[in-house]
Structures are given as structure tokens and as C-alpha cells.
């Protein structure tokens, strides 16, 4: 086995036993990145020197007998999270040369545990997109089929994990941006409960929906990273002072007594690929076989979720992205004769078309005279969706569904059709609207050999349940062991 193929857990064991050093491991991962990056294009910035220096420090720590589960483990960070001294672009021309003077809380937490940051991964610009085609920097390819999209917006993080270009990574999920690329790349991706993980230093797309989550090679690694990044942060008022359990502790508990809800509305969605529905049905069967009980549930307001989401998220985004005005940092257009022109040119040149589209939608939705009909109404729908889940969880412990209606599509297929792209978020964005946790775990491959993921959603702050179900399923299947073939 190649070093870069290790999981966090297996690498940790070898580091602890001093079979390998972090420098060897990090070197192997960096070499792997340089070998396959031209095909995958997962990284915006590869921090070779910084990573090797951090690895050296990790080795010193380990030699002193201090080792955490993340000490010396090479991880990748979505380029939406601030890294002190390391360029953070949000895949946008407007922040192309932005170097933050501070670390995001999650980055600080990983660094405090001795993790090595190998680089910053590609994404849709400001996390707006489901394919990475909207990156202002480059196009990441799906390691399973380089002609296809890796998913998005955390496409770089998912592709990097799938292609062994890091041991694990962090993404962020506003409407499915961790779970959907995880599904498309056959890795594990979790969106924690809103408030579970600090958003400080995560560049905001839609503040009430954004949540950072891990992308990993298996469920155990997901639990390890969840342990590291979760918890209240006084710098984020929306983070919740709720105790953080040891997420690895309950993985091996069985599924007896667990009730699974199957939302009928999710399986009535038009355009659901038969390979996807087949794989998910098989997965549900498997989970039932392991002792879980399945019940039919209803999430009656599902059909309004996409519309509500695409009002709320762009509205918040239109305000969150107002700060990129060329005044203090980032790109400023040189061609300007007055203030308005500086704003106009800077933002027209600096932002890509999808970001501009969403700023325009959001600005419109918040405008005087339209607020009640759009933002106000969408907020009401959001409450109804929360109620749907609350009711559903009275009768079940977790909800199983597909992650996306179809496997990864070819690059360019939907680029001129934003509506189809938005509609493909149907299964994931309800969890963001309701603030509940969700996980995507590999559950099969299409007839074309493309990965398919299973989504498990749970109650607020009940990530343990999701991890337990995912772990049991993973142990009973081999999907996570399959690797994409890269030349």
C-alpha cells in the first residue's frame, strides 16, 4: 500500500508506532498531488514548503511522545477557510491574492492538534455551484471520470480525497456542498448540525446555512475530524455551547432498535436516475438487514425547498459579498474615474457570472416592495420545512435518501442551465434550511461506473446516530475500498 493511500486512522497507527514519519507521509502526499494534479486539478494552492515544515514539527512532537490522532496527518482545506499567511482565494479573481492575517477556528483547531496543511482546494467561486465549473480559478475533474464534474462546491476537497491527494479534507456545505461532491467522488462527507462547528474564518456565502464539514476516505476518519473541529467558539455567536461527544466511541454500536424514515416525497422526484434509486434501495435493504426498522415518513413541504433556498441563500450572499468592493483588499479594477465606476468595474471584473447572478437575485429579493413576497415568504417556508423534520423525527431516528438525483454529469452539460443545476440540490438543501446534520456515504456505482452516495439525515446534534448507521453500512459493504484509476 502506498503511503498516500492511508486513512487518517491507519496513518496515525503507523506514526504512533514510528513505522513512518510525518515527513515521509507528507512528502508522499505532495508527490502524489504533483503526479495527478494535471488531471484532477483539485488544488488552487499547494503549500509544499509550509507542509514540509509543519511535518517536521509534527515529527518532533511525536518524538517527544506527544501525539494526537491528527498529528502529522496531511489534510487539505477548501479555499473558503482562512489560513494565516496562506493565500485564501475563495476561487475568485476578486480575492486572487488575498492572504489572511488570521486562521479560521477550524484551521486553528487542526493546527493545534498537529495536522499538516498541504494546500487549499478548488471550489465553485464563493461556494456558489454544484460542479466546480463556476470556479474562477480552474476546473477540477472527477477522478472517476475526468470528463465529468467532481460535484461542488467542495469539489476540490472531494476529488483530492478520492484521488489520494490528501489523507482527509475540510469542505463547507450551504446546500449540499460537502455531501454532493462526496457522493460524486465516492468519499464520506458530513454536514454537521448548524452551530456545531465554528464558522469564524469561513468566508461567508449564506451565513444561516453555511457549515464546515469533513470529507474523508471512510466513516471512522469522518468521526476523527468531527472530534477535532466541533465545539462552541466565542468568536461565532451562532455556534452552540453544546457538549461534544467522542464521535468515534459509538461507531461500532449495532443498528438494533434504530428506526429509519423513508420520505415518500424524495422518491417521487422527477428525473431520479434508476441507478441512483436502485443503489439507495439496496442500501436501505442492507441497513434493514442489520436490524434497523424502516418506516415511511412524509416531508410535505419538500417541493418548496429549492425555491425557498434559492431566495434565502442569494439574499444573504448579496449582503455577505458586498465587502468585496476594491477599497481595502483584493482586486481593484484599474480603469476607474469615480467611486461608482470603481465599484462597478471591480465587481463586474472580479466576480464570475454565477456569483453575479446570485448577487442580482439576492439584491432583488431583499428590495423594498419585494422583501415580503420573496425573503419573507421563503423564511416562512423554511419554518415549515423545519416543522416537517421535527414531526418526522418523532417517528424515526434517521432519514435515508439519495444525495443527488443522478451521478456526476459531464463537464459543460448544465453550465447554461442554472435552473437544472439548482434543482439537483433537492435532496441536500433541506438539511441546511432545517439546520440538521447529514452525511453522504458511498453506496454503489452506476452502470457507467460512477459513484453513488447514500444520504443519512438526523436530529439536531445527533451526528452520532448518522455516523453509527454510516459506519455499520460501510463495514457491510466494499464501496469505500474501491479507488479511481488515474494514469
Amino acid at each position: 500500500m502506498k503511503l498516500y493511500e492511508l486513512t487518517i486512522q491507519s496513518a496515525h497507527t503507523l506514526l504512533k508506532q514510528k513505522e513512518i514519519s510525518s515527513q515521509e507521509l507528507t512528502r508522499a502526499v505532495l508527490d502524489r498531488i504533483h503526479a495527478v494534479e494535471k488531471d484532477v486539478n483539485a488544488y488552487i494552492t499547494v503549500a509544499d514548503d509550509l507542509a514540509m515544515a509543519q511535518a517536521e514539527l509534527a515529527d518532533k512532537t511525536i518524538s517527544e511522545g506527544n501525539i494526537s490522532q491528527l498529528t502529522g496527518i496531511p489534510l487539505a482545506i477548501k479555499d473558503l477557510m482562512c489560513t494565516k499567511g496562506l493565500r485564501t482565494t475563495c476561487a475568485s479573481k476578486i480575492l486572487e491574492n488575498f492572504v489572511p492575517p488570521y486562521n479560521a477556528t477550524v484551521v486553528e483547531k487542526l493546527r493545534n492538534k498537529g495536522a499538516v496543511i498541504v494546500g487549499k482546494t478548488n471550489m465553485d467561486e464563493f461556494a456558489m455551484g454544484s460542479s466546480n465549473e463556476h470556479s474562477g480559478m480552474k476546473m477540477t475533474h472527477n477522478p472517476w471520470d475526468l470528463t465529468r464534474i467532481p460535484g461542488g462546491s467542495s469539489g476540490g476537497s472531494a476529488a483530492a480525497v478520492a484521488a489520494d491527494m490528501c489523507i482527509g479534507s475540510l469542505g463547507s456545505d450551504t446546500g449540499g456542498s460537502v455531501r454532493q461532491p462526496a457522493s460524486h467522488c465516492s468519499v464520506v462527507g458530513m454536514k454537521p448540525t448548524y452551530g456545531r462547528v465554528s464558522r469564524f474564518g469561513l468566508v461567508a456565502f449564506a451565513s444561516s446555512l453555511d457549515q464546515i464539514g469533513p470529507l474523508t476516505k471512510d466513516v471512522t476518519d469522518c468521526a476523527i475530524l468531527m472530534n477535532a473541529i466541533s465545539g462552541y467558539d466565542s468568536r461565532d455567536s451562532t455556534s452552540v455551547p453544546e457538549d461534544v461527544p467522542d464521535y468515534t466511541a459509538s461507531l461500532t454500536d449495532g443498528l438494533e432498535g434504530v428506526t429509519i424514515g423513508i420520505p415518500k416525497e424524495y422518491y417521487a422526484v422527477g428525473g431520479l436516475d434508476p441507478d441512483v434509486s436502485g443503489s439507495v434501495k439496496n442500501a436501505i435493504g442492507k441497513i434493514e438487514d442489520m436490524g434497523a426498522k424502516c418506516v415511511d415518513i412524509s416531508l410535505p413541504h419538500t417541493e418548496y425547498a429549492v425555491a425557498a433556498y434559492y431566495v434565502i441563500a442569494p439574499s444573504e450572499a448579496s449582503s455577505n459579498l458586498a465587502r468585496y468592493d476594491g477599497v481595502r483588499y483584493g482586486f481593484r479594477d484599474k480603469d476607474r474615474s469615480d467611486l461608482m465606476e470603481m465599484y462597478r468595474n471591480t465587481r463586474s471584473e472580479g466576480f464570475g457570472p454565477e456569483v453575479q447572478r446570485r448577487i442580482i437575485i439576492g439584491t432583488y429579493c431583499l428590495s423594498a416592495g419585494y422583501y415580503d413576497a420573496y425573503y419573507g415568504k421563503a423564511s416562512q417556508v423554511r419554518t415549515l420545512i423545519m416543522e416537517d423534520f421535527k414531526k418526522a423525527f418523532e417517528n424515526c431516528d434517521a432519514i435515508l435518501s439519495p444525495v443527488t438525483p443522478s451521478p456526476a454529469f459531464p463537464v459543460g452539460e448544465n453550465i447554461d442551465d442554472p435552473l437544472t443545476m439548482y434543482l439537483s440540490d433537492i435532496f441536500t438543501l433541506s438539511a441546511n434550511l432545517a439546520g440538521i446534520p447529514g452525511i453522504s456515504v458511498p453506496c454503489g456505482f452506476s452502470s457507467k461506473g460512477l459513484p453513488i452516495g447514500l444520504q443519512i439525515m438526523g436530529r439536531h446534534f445527533n451526528e452520532e446516530m448518522l455516523l453509527k448507521i454510516a459506519y455499520n453500512f460501510e463495514q457491510a459493504t466494499d464501496f469505500h475500498k474501491k479507488k479511481p484509476v488515474l494514469q
Partner: protein
């Protein structure tokens, strides 16, 4: 045609918390540009606001002092607009659910009491400051002020004249100073006022179209600008024209208002609840705790001064117009407990002196206990009233205590009757004509004799004794 003005004021008071509203940067005024900044108040990518609890406490103080209903749950909202002094592209403020509403204050003018409604008080952050290079097409921005906490106090359109507006504003100013939540400095902009002004025919029920006046940075300018604006609007109506809704800037140099923005160019601020901040919950317990720490407010103190010190309401009003004057007065009383006499000296001599020098009472060269001591010395006949005036002036010039000045200048009053009698005899001996006049019924001449005696004693003779001896001698 007789008109009536309809005026509502929006007052911004900078709260004197040590740190900013959403980060730990200092709020101190006057530091070199951009030295009191951090990623949070600079609006860097990914940063988040964390509310300073002290700001809420100060807002609660103001809400209690202005008889407002305090919201159990209020919300922060984003006010979106682009300007280089606004780093996030939005100002965090409160919109639909402010912290306090439905309050009032009572003002008094020429003995007439009037209640002015307070529509709402809300919390928000201040913006930065732009300066424009006069020689190059370059503007510079200083973010030190960005994120300094403000409360905005919005009045009902209950005000009917420039003078009433002034009285309302002075009262609010006095309240924030009493509460110790704002330094009230209008020149530095820590207490700012915008005015909404319209005119209507007297007795009408419908308000006219209003103009919003900006740049009113002193009490005088507020009154003058409102006066100008109401006259301008009246003229328009009288000429058969129509007042348009606009924002107008007061030009203190020319004493006119000029249009800067009409309704068509008005911003659409696209307010929505700030998702980065939780709803602000203020429970009864918190309100009670703040209430317990509240100082005595101007109205209550004025009533107490009338009741406890038997002062005329006018005196009590002047003395309680600022917390510092009232404190000064009460400190004087500790040394010399004669309220009316102290009041006369504070209102007359001291405030007169300070006004003439453009100073506030905190900068008074005469500390309260020294003024008290001076009055006590006068009461004990150590010096007379005339000497007291002289000593007072010397105290103001030198900052020395009255005792020191009296000692240095040998200003002890002459109360020795035999010494005074000798001088009186001398004066009478050289004034036969005046004695004649006096005996012929011109009793006013007594003033001449007193003056002569005082002159001879360099003002040190006890006037009471002088009078007694004079009357005694002249009657025989």
C-alpha cells in the same frame, strides 16, 4: 395663512464603552488613523461579529430613562449600502425589532410643560471617516470609528418649533450625560442630530411633505437650521408651490439648507435580519439590574432641589441642567449649607465666569469646596460681600483657596467698632455740606458716607457696623 411646523428628531449618541460593539478594539477618539482596527471591524473575509454586552446595558439605561418599553427580544438587521467608510458593505443596526419603543420625555419651555414621544431607540454601529485630499483626486479612510457603538433615538413628530427642538435636544443631551453613557460632544460627533421638518396650515390634521436636515452639529445650528427650513417651506407653499421629499444639508457658514438627495435617489437599504447574530434577549432580571444602578435623572433631581432646598423652580432647573453643575452645587452645600446663597453664586458668578471663558463646569478653575469655603467666610463675617467678589476673581485667576488669598492680601474685614468710629469721625469732619444735606432730609447721602468709609478702609470695613455707627453719629 398661519402655519405650524412639524418636527421630529433622530439623535445618534455614541456610547462610551471601552471597546467597540462587535470586536475588542478601543473606542478612544483621536488615535492615528487605522490603529484601532482589527479583521472584524475592517470587514475582512470570514470574520464574525460578537456583541458587546455593555452596549446593551447602556441602551437599556437610556430606554428606562426615556420611559420606553424594552423589547424582550430584539433583532439586529443589516442595512445594506455601498460606501468606502463602510467596510462590510452593510451597517449592523436594528430595524423591525428595536430594543426599545413607545417612550417619552417631558420638556419645559417658558414654564409650559410638553411631552415629546420617543418612537424607538435602537442599537447600531458607527461607520468610518473619509477625508479628501484637497490637492489630489484621492480620498483616505480611517476605520478607527468603524464599529463604535451608537444608539439612535427617534422622536415622534411632536415638536412644533425650533425652540422646542432645542429644548428636547438639550434634555436628551442632559439625560445621556446623567446616565454616563455618552460624552455628548457635538463637535467630535459623539452626539449628532438629524431633523425631519415639514409645515402645515395651523389646525390641519395632515402633515406636509418633510425634508430631512443633516449636519446639525450644535444646539444653535439645530434651531437655526429648522427655523430656516420652516421659513423656506412656508414660502414655497405661499407661492403655490409644493415641498418635495428630500434630504437637505445645513450650511452653517451661509445659514441655509441645500438639497443633497431627492426621494428618487433615496437608498433602498434592503434590511434583513443579520444571520450572524442571535436574537437579543433582554429579560426582566437584566432590566432590574440596570435599573438598580441608574443615577438620579434630571427631572427627579430638579424636583428634589425644589423640595429639599426650597429653591425656586428656575434655579433648580438651571442647576440640574447638567449632572456636573448639579454635582458642583451639592458639593458646595457640603461646605456651606445655605442653598439659595450657593445657588445665587453658582448661577450668577460661577456660570457667568465660565460662559465668558467658554468653559464647562468640569474645567472650573474654582473647585466646589473652595466656593463653599468662600461663602462660609463671608457668612462668618471674616470678609464682606465686596471682598468676597474680589477674592472670587482672584480664585478664578490663580486657583488658590480663599483662605490663602485673604491671608496673602491681608483682606480681613475690619469689625473693630472703635477703629471704624475713628474713620467715621474723620469722614464726617471733612464733609459739613453733606451732613447739612442729610439733616435737611436727604437721607440718601448716607450712601456717600459709607462709600467714603469703605474707600478709607480699602473696602475692608464691615458694612453693617459702618451703617450703625454712621446712623448713630448723624442722629445726634
Amino acid at each position: 395663512m398661519e402655519f405650524e411646523s412639524v418636527i421630529g428628531l433622530e439623535v445618534h449618541a455614541q456610547l462610551k464603552t471601552r471597546t467597540k460593539i462587535f470586536c475588542n478594539c478601543s473606542t478612544a477618539f483621536g488615535a492615528p488613523p487605522n490603529t484601532h482596527t482589527c479583521p472584524v471591524c475592517l470587514g475582512m473575509p470570514g470574520v464574525l461579529p460578537v456583541l458587546n454586552k455593555k452596549v446593551v446595558e447602556y441602551a437599556i439605561r437610556m430606554a428606562i430613562a426615556t420611559n420606553c418599553t424594552i423589547a424582550r427580544e430584539s433583532r439586529f438587521a443589516r442595512k445594506n449600502y455601498f460606501y468606502p467608510d463602510l467596510p462590510k458593505g452593510y451597517q449592523i443596526s436594528q430595524y423591525e425589532l428595536p430594543i426599545a419603543e413607545f417612550g417619552y420625555i417631558d420638556i419645559e419651555q417658558n414654564g409650559n410643560k410638553k411631552r415629546i414621544g420617543i418612537t424607538r431607540i435602537h442599537i447600531e454601529e458607527d461607520a468610518g471617516k473619509l477625508t479628501h485630499d484637497p490637492n489630489r483626486p484621492v480620498s483616505m479612510v480611517d476605520f478607527n470609528r468603524t464599529g463604535v457603538p451608537l444608539i439612535e433615538i427617534v422622536s415622534e413628530p411632536d415638536i412644533r418649533s425650533p425652540e422646542e427642538a432645542g429644548a428636547y435636544l438639550r434634555h436628551l443631551h442632559s439625560v445621556v450625560r446623567y446616565l454616563d453613557i455618552c460624552d455628548g460632544n457635538m463637535e467630535e460627533g459623539s452626539f449628532r442630530c438629524d431633523a425631519n421638518v415639514s409645515v402645515m396650515l395651523k389646525g390641519s390634521e395632515t402633515f406636509g411633505t418633510r425634508a430631512e436636515l443633516k449636519n446639525l452639529n450644535s444646539f444653535k445650528h439645530v434651531e437655526k437650521a429648522i427655523y430656516f427650513e420652516t421659513e423656506r417651506q412656508k414660502d414655497i407653499v405661499l407661492d403655490g408651490g409644493e415641498v418635495i421629499q428630500e434630504t437637505r444639508l445645513w450650511d452653517p457658514a451661509k445659514s441655509v439648507t441645500t438639497s443633497i438627495r431627492t426621494k428618487e435617489d433615496a437608498h433602498d437599504y434592503r434590511y434583513f435580519p443579520d444571520p450572524d447574530l442571535l436574537p437579543l434577549v433582554v429579560d426582566d432580571d437584566w432590566v432590574d439590574r440596570v435599573k438598580a444602578t441608574l443615577p438620579e435623572l434630571p427631572d427627579a433631581r430638579m424636583k428634589r432641589f425644589v423640595r429639599e432646598f426650597s429653591l425656586p423652580p428656575y434655579d433648580a432647573g438651571v442647576l440640574t441642567s447638567s449632572r456636573e453643575i448639579a454635582d458642583y452645587f451639592e458639593d458646595c452645600l457640603k461646605v456651606f449649607p445655605e442653598p439659595k446663597q450657593v445657588s445665587n453664586w453658582v448661577m450668577g458668578s460661577l456660570l457667568g465666569l465660565l460662559n465668558a471663558e467658554g468653559k464647562s463646569i468640569e474645567d472650573s478653575p474654582i473647585p466646589a469646596h473652595d466656593l463653599g469655603a468662600l461663602l462660609k467666610l463671608m457668612d462668618e463675617d471674616v470678609i464682606n460681600g465686596r471682598m468676597a467678589k474680589t477674592v472670587f476673581e482672584k480664585m478664578a485667576q490663580t486657583g488658590k483657596t480663599p483662605k490663602t488669598i485673604i491671608k496673602e492680601d491681608g483682606l480681613v474685614q475690619v469689625t473693630d467698632a472703635s477703629a471704624i468710629e475713628a474713620i467715621v469721625s474723620e469722614v464726617l469732619a471733612r464733609s459739613p455740606k453733606e451732613i447739612e444735606d442729610y439733616k435737611n432730609g436727604k437721607t440718601r447721602v448716607i450712601g456717600f458716607f459709607v462709600g467714603q468709609v469703605m474707600k478709607a478702609t480699602k473696602g475692608k470695613a464691615n458694612p453693617k457696623i459702618v451703617n450703625e455707627i454712621l446712623k448713630d453719629k448723624l442722629s445726634c
